[in-house]
Amino acid sequence: MWFLCVFYHRLLDYRKPEVESLALMFGAFDSDDGGQDGGEHLEWRLPEHHHPDSPFHFVDLPSEDVARDIANRSILVKGIYELWGEGNNYEELEDAIKDYPDERKLPYLSPESTFRITVDSFGKVISFQEQNERIQSLAYIPFKGQVNLRNPDHKFWLMETDDYGTNNGLPPVVQKRIFFGREVGGADRKLLPTYQLKSRTYLGPTAMDAEMAFLMANQAMVKPGKLVYDPFVGTGSILVAAAHFGAMTMGADIDIRVVRDGRGPDCNVWSNFKQYGLPTPIGLLRADNNLPPWRPGLKEVFDAIICDPPYGVRAGGRKSGGRKLLKGVVGPYTVPDDKRTDHIPSTAAYSLVECVHDLLDLAAKMLVLNGRLVFFYPVLREDESTENHFPEHPCFVLVSASEQILSSRYSRVLLTMVKSSPYTEEIEEEARLKHLEFKENHLKWMEDGNLHSAVFSPGESVFVAEGDPKVSKETKPKYRGKYV
């Protein structure tokens, strides 16, 4: 069954993956092959002449119930509609609506029902008077019900797009197109102001913004009763979103001040959950992602792992081991027995490659089969080839990669992976050897994976190799994420 799916014009790369994840979660693929995660995709279609970045898409979903579930849970879907007609002008629209079968229309036009028509536009403003005229012009539809603007049974939408020029940094979208449809479901974006970071009590410098945290939870298919883990929990901003969707949460961080103390008794990770009336995490601990303290036989406990690893641009990762020790400045030393109790171990910088290796290994072991790993991965935008070099693991299949541009230098990509095969002894042994290699060649890995210097190095050095710096700069699209 085809529906018109209209998106908010934001985070363009994230829109379809979100709908596909939710479709899988709400059982859209259940009839195919028992709901095996990884291979399924929805069928999408664009309106005529529309650019792929257009907010208007058609999507094939098995039922109206699934469509409603997806729309109501989604963050980026403005609405999913049963399309009654479309056209390049109002004459074409009228013909299309009249042609739409009566048995689909009449149940929603009955005298006992209430309804509302909303006029919406993309790329231009329609005055109040024009809106009224447009609604009046729909008089050929036999509405029998009562108008109710506040809480109608049926919501109808008249949506127009128009050419709005190219001045706003967007690609030239479309020729004028008009859609009329009945709303099946729409996103509840009211939860975004509720959860916005500026009203959050306890914040860190890299707290995940609420919209993105909810998107990550949707990518991870978070549901009530599931157990979600964040190994870089910080102030808990990602787990708050997971808890909102009913998950049990667990988090770890290497910085004890962040997880244990916060900024006082009513300003810490726990209070961030209480603030919204959410259940607090079932476990918070201080642990090192490089040497996780999970008992050896423990595996397949988490339904999803969602995190924003420290990749060394705004916040650098740390691991156990001692800064000077790993640099070879001092020899191995032992902590004297009388100082052991209150000893604060020094930590060493943690390179991105090693951090992601550890994360994938941990996830491969600790996720249930078909469990999802959702995390951000930074990409330097100069290097075109990096696009195909996302981290890989034999246990995981990449489901989606959505880019968000952060600056002209770098982006972050939200990777969604699904655990498609079990963690075997061979994989465990391979990971152990890799772990030792990282430890022995600590300095080399630190230099190789230094994203901070690439992002903050002076401009000339980056663009010199590419010839005319201006040209190479302008070829990069700017609108995907940062400005939209």
């Binding site: 997880v259 244990r260 103390d261 259940p279 079932i282 476990g283 601990l285 040497l291 008992r295 406990v301």
Partner: protein, 122 residues
């Protein structure tokens, strides 16, 4: 720290081969009632090391868990309530976790276990 977390943790000090289960030094235990989710408990039951949970709950002053269990007991509401209480409602607020091999203490403050190793333990 709930006993669910305790059941998942071990001492990962270099050279330690048998770091599970961690002993518990109790300074302060608190109880926080939470709503029971039978599906979650049934799901977790298969992942739990039962003896470790029984011993841990006893050291926290709760002796109502049976020594022997099998999955048929999950049909009993009374058993689920005890399991739920031990797993999710008992908190070690202050104390320490003790490595069974070396005796090294991992402090627990404000309910957060500090599992980070010293430089000479990694």
């Amino acid at each position: 720290m709930r006993l669910l977390t305790h059941n998942m943790l071990s001492s990962n000090i270099k050279g330690v081969t048998n770091g599970f289960p961690l002993g518990i030094v109790v300074e302060k235990v608190i109880e926080k009632p939470v709503e029971m989710n039978p599906d979650f408990l049934k799901n977790m039951f298969a992942k739990i090391e039962w003896k470790a949970l029984v011993d841990a709950s006893r050291s926290m002053g709760y002796a109502e868990l049976p020594d022997q269990v099998d999955s048929s007991m999950l049909d009993s509401v009374e058993f689920l309530q005890r399991f739920h209480h031990a797993l999710l409602e008992l908190h070690l607020e202050e104390g320490a976790l003790v490595c069974p091999e070396t005796g090294r203490k991992f402090p627990v403050n404000k309910g957060i276990p500090n599992m980070l190793l010293h430089e000479d333990e990694v």
